[in-house]
Amino acid sequence: MSTNTAKVGIISCSGEALPEGTISRLAARRVLELLRPDRTVTLCLPLFLAGNEGERNFARTHPTITIDGCGKQCAKWGTEKHSGPVSVSLVVPEILKSTNGGCHCSTRALSEDDTEAVWAVAERIAAEVDSVLASTAPAVAENAGSDTGPGHCACSSPLPGGKLTIGSKTVEIPGLPLIFAQFAEKATITNSDQGAALLDLVKIYHPIPAKEQEAYKDALLAEYQKFVGMQAAK
């Protein structure tokens, strides 16, 4: 494996016949769009298995994390057969430690159980991405932000971020509207606590220096109120 490890390949089984396949797909998308947008790319499993050299080459030269919806572990099997050992292999039922009773295959019918399952799996993938990158830290630092060569999959761009003005600078937070939407779904918090709760949520995805936390809190609250106003207007 080369030292070019700026990005981790996320390969989900996306199994169509069971809800865990949809969970694996949505969790992978969430990591790509929101949790670790600058550190991950995805590869289409069937294309990879069908012999696309670009996809296989990426998996040969970069760390990969596979997410499978069942114990047959097609994603892990395919990656190891065609490209070499995976860095981490995850199996959805093992992460959730429960049955999929309330989960669905279609995104049209997603329930609270689906939403929680997707978050749980996505957060686990993100933690594994950090762990994999930490173990290859020098190469990551050299290559961070660079394109990843011929195996780079261009079809998964990060979500557009939201901008905040903190003092005299403007910062961009990837997927801020999605974070706000998640917050709004779960919001049972009184107005006086909203700023702190928002800050805690955003800190999961975006590093915030301790001395700037108060400024972030105010800016986040102001942006969130705009977001809520726009949602209500729709």
């Binding site: 989900s12 089984c13 996306s14 199994g15 169509e16 016949a17 069971l18 396949g21 797909r25 949505l26 992978a28 998308r29 969430r30 769009e33 995805t42 289409c44 499993l45 069937p46 294309l47 298995l49 069908a50 696309n52 919806g69 069942c70 047959k72 097609c74 994603a75 099997w77 395919g78 295959c105 279609s106 995104t107 049209r108 999959c153 079809c155 998964s156």
Partner: protein, 142 residues
């Protein structure tokens, strides 16, 4: 892994494309058909399992009519069913359906918009129709 499959059922197999909205449209059109519009006589199976060569999945595509739905011209679903010895009765390209929805903004690979669901419904209608035709032809041949 395949959903419960009976003799005469039609298999609807989308590609597992994860990078573009087209993959999600194909996937959702499949669920519209197999869960709602023709749940009694259609089913789906995991494409990755078929590609892996799982004997049960390979048997399923060999012994049932298959309708494949692909999100891009690489046609992974169609090609993999054919490589496995399956019978592709109809190969659908999601991009073709966009011709009737010029200017539509279908959403992303994660979530569909109202336009995206309309395109999905159109593809699901086409699959349901094709599945009914296949079953009728099979009945007539008996």
């Amino acid at each position: 892994m395949a959903q419960t499959l009976k003799e005469g059922d039609v298999l609807v197999i989308p590609c597992s494309g994860i990078g573009k909205v087209h993959g999600l449209i194909g996937r959702e059109a499949t669920y519209m058909v197999t869960d709602e519009m023709a749940s009694e006589n259609t089913a789906t199976l995991c494409l990755a399992l078929l590609v892996k060569g799982d004997p049960e999945a390979v048997d399923a595509v060999k012994s049932h009519h298959c309708i494949t739905i692909d999100g891009c011209a690489k046609a992974c679903a169609q090609k993999n069913v054919e490589i496995s010895g399956g019978r592709v009765a109809k190969a659908i390209q999601v991009a073709e359906a966009f011709r009737n929805f010029r200017g539509a903004k279908p959403g992303t690979a994660t979530a569909l918009t109202e336009d995206g669901w309309k395109i999905t419904q159109a593809i699901a209608d086409s699959i349901t129709c094709e599945a009914a035709n296949l079953r009728a032809q099979e009945s007539a041949a008996l």
